[in-house]
């Protein structure tokens, strides 16, 4: 499976949760598959999906899922010790690990070579780290939500993209409707 197929697969699970979605194609794909007010689309700022999601989870009680990529986690590797040391049990970090920078032309990441993000997360002190195959992402994600324990999921999938348009929604509209969904 490629990332867009995983997102389509897990959309029914994401639908009821607060979702912070990574810059570029992941946000465009989620926007196309199931746009709703509980999705926060990142239009810029590569690497900060996990940080925004953690801050959100620590600030309120609803379940938060950050959808990130292996390349973006590598960009902000300092996020993993911060997550490990500030446990928010309403938080799941879902790293869709296709071993490549998908939005920029599928250049290989180091996660697609020797680096194992699940090992990095564990070494940083993250206590619930689950590695899964692409087809099992939904099941593992649902289990993480139900466990009410902070979880880092590394979902291994194929690299590859679909063609789709950029998000033209105004960022302040995305933020405002998201905040209303958070507060509702």
């Amino acid at each position: 499976m490629i990332r867009s197929e995983i997102l389509r697969d897990i959309a029914p699970i994401l639908r009821d949760q607060l979702v912070v979605c990574n810059i570029g194609l992941p946000s465009q794909e989620l926007h196309m598959i199931d746009d709703n007010a509980r999705n926060f689309y990142m239009l810029g700022t590569m690497g900060l999906s996990s940080s925004i999601g953690l801050g959100l989870a620590l600030a309120q009680d609803k379940t938060v899922i950050s959808i990130d990529g292996d390349g973006s986690v590598l960009t902000n590797l300092g996020t993993l010790p911060t997550i490990a040391n500030n446990v928010a049990d309403n938080y799941t970090l879902l790293i869709i690990d296709n071993g490549s920078y998908g939005s920029t032309g599928d250049q290989p990441t180091y996660a697609g070579k020797k680096t194992r993000l699940e090992n990095v997360a564990s070494a940083c002190g993250c206590e619930n780290v689950v590695v899964c195959k692409d087809v099992d992402t939904g099941k593992v994600l649902q289990e993480a939500i139900d466990s009410k324990q902070m979880t880092v999921i590394v979902s291994k999938c194929d690299s590859g993209n679909i063609k789709l348009p950029v998000i033209t929604m105004d960022p302040v509209v995305i933020r405002d409707r998201f905040m209303k969904a958070v507060a509702s």
Binding site: F40, G44, G47, S51, I52, T79, T82
Partner: protein
Amino acid sequence: MSISRQIVDDFVANDVSFITTVPCKQLAGVIDEVEARPEIFHIPSNKEDEGMGLCAGAFMGGKRPAIIMQNTAIGVTINTLATLTQYYRMPLPMLISYRGELREPVACQVEMAVHTKALLNQMNIPTYHFHKESDADELDAILKYTFMCNKPVAILTDASFWGGYGDQ
């Protein structure tokens, strides 16, 4: 009252309850004070752009955030300020140690000091410079202004404000 306590009192009085920090020697006292306050969730970050991401999330979760960092971080965070904090119109008080000013013992700090105000100006970030201890009397108004206009706002605090570098 210590200046660090006064600063953190102003944060608390303005309902700032989520503060991320990247340390600087000048800020050690205020970071200790942040850590000590039960009203504030203190979350150290490894890099300042990461901290701004945490603050963005906390703001959307209903908390008033702030970041405490050194002015060298302006060089690290331009993209985050432009494409996250400003683009989504979020408030962010930035209490910044202004290294490389008068009484600075480390020459390299001057290299970012000479760019600090120019970069903040280029970013259209409202900027206040605390040089004397009495300048901190404006912090309460600066915080109210920040959360009124939903912008990142810089508060530069130089060595003279903190009383020099001690025995360094």
